[in-house]
Subunit: 221 residues, 2 copies
């Protein structure tokens, strides 16, 4: 369990890069554990598809452009639905959580113009809290589970590092639109804002990896 959390975090944060080979023994040595708990962690990560099985051992999963597009489409579908449902089902606690996240978001953007890594972590955090709030508002545990599997990808996680100030402001704006829509039980407006927010993220990520040529192309035959 400890091993699972450690490896998962390392993958999401990009410490273990795409394509990196993970062998049980080296992980065991690094985490000072035997191979047994490592094996369990690997099996779980495999079924979450964060790692790819080879004929022999596993590597950290590689994502193609096509993957990114598909994943964001899926995310838009799921989170759009969550926003729409949330607008109907939300309770006071949910509203509270969303509001708090947005207040903090605004505070962070106001206080500092410096884009240091501390600020980015805080932004990732409030962004996460807000989405969490929307999800909880939807009152659908299963929806929540599937979204969390879609959101956890390294590229999604790291995307905030490449946002500029204007994009961050737009994000906050959309969060606040969502909040007010969910508050006033406006399904459609909540959904629309969520979709724009997510597509903003998608375009941003795609552009970033295009510009930086971040994809090692898959092997050509």
């Amino acid at each position: 369990m400890e091993a699972y959390d450690f490896i998962k975090k390392a993958i999401i944060q990009g410490d273990y890069k795409s394509g990196k080979r993970l062998t049980e023994e080296s992980l065991a040595k690094e985490l000072k554990l035997s191979r047994t708990p490592i094996r369990e962690a690997i099996k779980r990560l495999e079924s979450e598809r964060l790692i790819t099985p080879l004929k022999r051992g596993v590597i950290v999963r590689k994502f193609t452009r096509e993957d990114i597009k598909q994943i964001y489409d899926l995310r838009a579908l799921l989170e759009g639905y969550a926003a729409a449902q949330g607008a109907i089902e939300r309770n006071d606690e949910n509203l509270q959580k969303m509001k708090e996240a947005n207040d903090n978001f605004r505070k962070i953007l106001k206080e500092t113009n410096a884009k240091d890594s501390e600020q980015i972590k805080e932004i990732m955090n409030v962004n996460n809290n807000f989405h969490q709030g929307v999800l909880e508002a939807s009152q659908n545990e299963h929806l929540r589970f599937h979204i969390s599997n879609v959101t956890v990808l390294p590229l999604v996680f790291r995307s905030f590092y490449w946002y500029n100030q204007q994009q961050l402001n737009r994000s906050l704006e959309l969060h606040e639109t969502m909040y007010s829509a969910i508050y006033s039980k406006d399904r459609e407006r909540a959904k629309t804002a969520m979709l724009e927010h997510i597509y903003q993220g998608r375009d941003h990520v795609l552009k970033h990896i295009e510009e930086n040529d971040l994809f090692e192309e898959e092997e050509k035959k």
Copy 2:
């Protein structure tokens, strides 16, 4: 791997019933394996949420009415989207597969009025093939993965056992509507038919378990 398949199948088919305690040793004895491969299987099933971890060991997951509703809502969302996308992205191979499934479906319904368990298995099979075809047509691997995790639940799997002839006919009808909609690239009609098909399934399952009082209620405090 072998252990994983075996246990998963047993759960889906209902051989291991909801709430059944699974201990590593007894499974090891039953499958004539050591505990190690059993452990891996259990970890995977846990992350697919087919089993629930206890403080000590695991049990086959119990589903509540609320679970069923949420799962079907999710399935409608995902498969509805798959149908809509499929109507745009489908290729000849996809169409072929869907058509074949439906032809077989019709044949099965025509040939036999007897509702024996052999027929039911065949129907589950063609139904599965058709949905598979729609999924493939959507050309979204990630969508496919998530749907497969939603569809695999015991109650969903077994639902065909309780369909009557009229409901089966209606299912086929909807399949054929979907096929023709996807063939002629009619997004909306494809989606609508899929939604009706899935909600038909949901209402059916809910009614069945209501009538047969299939839920042991969760413990009351």
